[in-house]
């Protein structure tokens, strides 16, 4: 059997420089320098040096000119590919002057992934309001990545921790508008994208989908809302016709219990908090945000910029480490698949 060649390094974006992205990147390297996976940061190397110094982190910085140099230095220094601009950020203080560099780091990372120089993109959190003020016109990371490296269907956000994967089919909108925008088509589309990704990147040959109801007790036969019968059930029927293994619409309050979780591979949820309440109850630190349906692989930690604790060294790198590891595992599967080798067991 031929040996699979080593995957390319992971590209980690700078994110909002006033937030905790820089310090969790330093801490993640310190935790992973001897184990890998190899990653490099797209940032201002001098900024990270100053940050390491101010936090008393003994993290040497190695400036690299291209991703291929990352592997050689990773064991002894954090590889940083320069963003090309000096970033003079102050922790906790937002500055729209940095917005262009924040966006450029994402564009560079995606370009490396598209050309194969990076095996996946891992993004540090951004501050949307600052980007909007500078003219950024995408609702968030996911939509911007869809623009840069979109597949045939719109990208889908999945959140994962060791015990649970969830896909909220409506995300960052008010509860009222989430309910109003729910449709059979969007459930079908996102479920199909999710199933494809679980097969391709998570090594699950026959993904089992659990679709949540919208209403208490999944509507109890129409007594408390008709969205289950009108919108969700038709989507489930169509997915079954497409050959998928699907259960639902399930009562939302019992589908996340310890007994229920092992019966499915992903929960398709109708609104943000329906997905995030169980995920965060299970794993406040280690949750990973994965974008499905792109031509490239992308993960990110499941936390925000945490401006309130930025620069204090209190930020926990657990979620970023989990995001880097998950991206590497997905990349490894793609490498194996490209070489015609069988994927390993599920992540």
């Amino acid at each position: 059997m031929p040996m699979p060649h080593a995957p390319m390094p992971l590209a980690l974006t700078m994110g909002e420089p006033a937030g905790i992205g820089g310090e969790v990147a330093l801490a993640a390297w310190a935790a992973m320098q001897s184990t890998g996976p190899v990653f490099f940061v797209i940032d201002d190397p001098r900024r990270l040096e100053r940050l390491a110094h101010s936090l008393c982190h003994h993290v040497p910085i190695a400036t690299i000119a291209s991703p291929v140099e990352a592997a050689a230095v990773f064991a002894t220094a954090l590889p940083v590919l320069s963003i090309g601009t000096a970033i003079k950020s102050v922790p906790g203080r937002l500055d729209p002057a940095h917005a262009a560099a924040v966006v450029r780091a994402i564009e560079i990372a995606v370009a490396f992934a598209v050309e194969g120089a990076a095996s996946a993109v891992v993004t540090n959190p951004i501050q949307k309001a600052t980007l909007y003020a500078a003219g950024f016109k995408y609702p968030g990371h996911t939509e911007f990545l869809g623009h840069l490296a979109g597949g045939s269907r719109p990208p889908v956000m999945m959140l994962a921790c060791p015990e649970l994967r969830v896909v909220p089919v409506t995300v960052h909108q008010s509860l009222r508008s989430a309910i109003a925008s729910l449709s059979t088509a969007v459930i079908i589309e996102q479920a199909l994208t999710t199933a494809d990704a679980l097969r391709r990147d998570f090594g699950i040959a026959h993904p089992r989908l659990a679709v949540a109801g919208l209403n208490p007790h999944a509507g109890e036969g129409g007594a408390m809302g008709d969205e289950e019968a009108r919108i969700i059930q038709p989507a489930i029927d169509a997915l079954r016709v497409a050959g998928l293994s699907v259960v639902g619409p399930l009562p939302p309050d019992t589908m996340f219990t310890p007994r229920a979780r092992p019966t499915y591979d992903v929960a398709i949820c109708m609104y943000h908090d329906q997905a995030l309440i169980p995920l965060k109850a299970l794993d406040i630190d280690g949750g990973v945000n994965v974008t499905l349906g792109l031509d490239i692989l992308r993960t990110s930690p499941d936390h925000g910029t945490a401006l309130d604790i930025a620069g204090t060294g209190k930020a926990h790198p657990g979620s970023l480490i989990a995001a880097l590891r998950m991206a590497a595992e997905m990349a490894r599967r793609r490498v194996l698949a490209a070489q015609g080798l069988p994927p390993h067991s599920p992540i």
Binding site: V171, H172, Q173, S174, L175, R176, S177, I179, A180, L214, N215, P216, H217, G219, E220, M224, G225, D226, E227, P252, D253, T254, F256, T257, P258, Y271, H272, D273, Q274, L276, I277, P278, L279, K280, A281, L282, I284
Partner: protein
């Protein structure tokens, strides 16, 4: 016994096809329960006897035939044998229509005892709602049934209690699309006040209550909905002015994590699944449900009828014991507060 200061607690036998008979027998035989309260159990002695056989316990009690025959003082637990159900007519392990009238009659009698002051709290073993509805088409849920039976109109709420964490909700069994309309500053403030009052009656001097937000990320400063700014923040401010230890609104996906870590004693949620997803994930089957806002406390284990294990003698009695002990604690606290 020199001077019995134990509170008198009514226990209505619930659905006879599930684990209620064995649970009742267990509770009546429990030394911890006997020490904490004097039980007046309502049901059919033939159903209890089956439960005792399953549970392999031998509860001792004095039986009477009607509630009017209940003596003023008794050393032993009392069993009011209404004689309404021959266990030979039901099938254990699946819902049966005869279970509805049985449970309903027991519950009514228990509520009557509390209304007339002969017991200071009501408890019950799990009901089957569908069977209850067959017996009484007007039966919607426990809260509305009790309100009708007691003739009360004051705000009442269901509290779920797990490992010392309380959860109450502003809306319950309604479609999600109708929730936002029902969330008013007044309704939220009422919920906060009822939570505070119910917890004070349970012995908390200043319960710390967190209010959950309606929208993702708590509305993200109005970007994902304005209910937090227009409705919830004013409710929290009003509650604080009234001396309540209330904080929020907090994003719903982290509020339970913080409460579980000990930052709050209670979370007030805005809709059914906001609280139920978190509580059931954390193991709420071990918890207790309290119906608060009535003239007397009503407690029951949070779990259901458990048909799949009925009759096997393996039912866990922890939640039912906790429900009875909470009822006794609330009753004693009220009695002390009244003197």
């Amino acid at each position: 016994m020199a001077h019995d200061i134990r509170p008198k607690i009514a226990l209505a036998m619930g659905d006879p096809c599930g684990i209620s008979p064995e649970l009742t027998a267990h509770l009546m035989a429990s030394p911890a329960i006997r020490e904490a309260m004097h039980l007046i159990v309502i049901g059919d002695v033939r159903v209890l006897s089956d439960g005792a056989d399953i549970a392999k316990v031998a509860p001792t009690f004095e039986a009477v035939q009607t509630v009017d025959a209940i003596p003023q003082r008794a050393e032993n637990h009392l069993f009011v044998d209404l004689g309404t159900l021959d266990p030979a007519t039901i099938t254990r392990g699946s819902a049966s229509q005869a279970g509805g009238p049985f449970a309903l009659a027991n519950f009514r009698a228990a509520l009557d005892l509390a209304k007339s002051g002969r017991v200071s709290a009501v408890t019950f073993t799990p009901f089957n709602k569908a069977a209850m509805r067959m017996a009484d088409p007007a039966y919607d849920d426990e809260i509305s049934f009790v309100a009708r039976a007691c003739g009360t109109t004051a705000p009442a709420s269901e509290f779920n209690i797990l490992d010392g964490l309380w959860n109450a909700r502003v809306t319950s069994h309604i479609a999600l699309k109708d929730v936002a309309e029902r969330i008013t500053t007044e309704a939220v403030l009422r919920g906060l006040q009822l939570t505070d009052a119910s917890m004070r009656q349970a012995g908390y001097s200043t319960p710390r209550i967190a209010l959950a937000a309606l929208n993702p990320h708590g509305g993200d400063n109005g970007n994902f909905g304005r209910e937090e700014i227009d409705i919830l923040e004013p409710a929290v401010a009003a509650a604080k002015r009234g001396g309540l230890a209330v904080e929020g609104p907090f994003p719903a996906d982290t509020v339970f994590v913080r409460a579980k870590a000990g930052q709050f004693d209670a979370v007030l949620t805005l809709y059914h699944d906001q609280g139920q997803i978190a509580m059931k994930l954390m193991g709420f089957d071990r918890g207790v449900t309290l119906l608060g806002g009535f003239p007397f406390p009503i407690c029951t284990p949070a779990h259901g009828t458990a048909y799949e294990i009925a009759g096997k003698g393996i039912a866990n009695t922890g939640a039912a014991c906790a429900a009875l002990l909470l009822a006794a604690r609330l009753a004693s606290h009220r009695a002390r507060a009244a003197t």
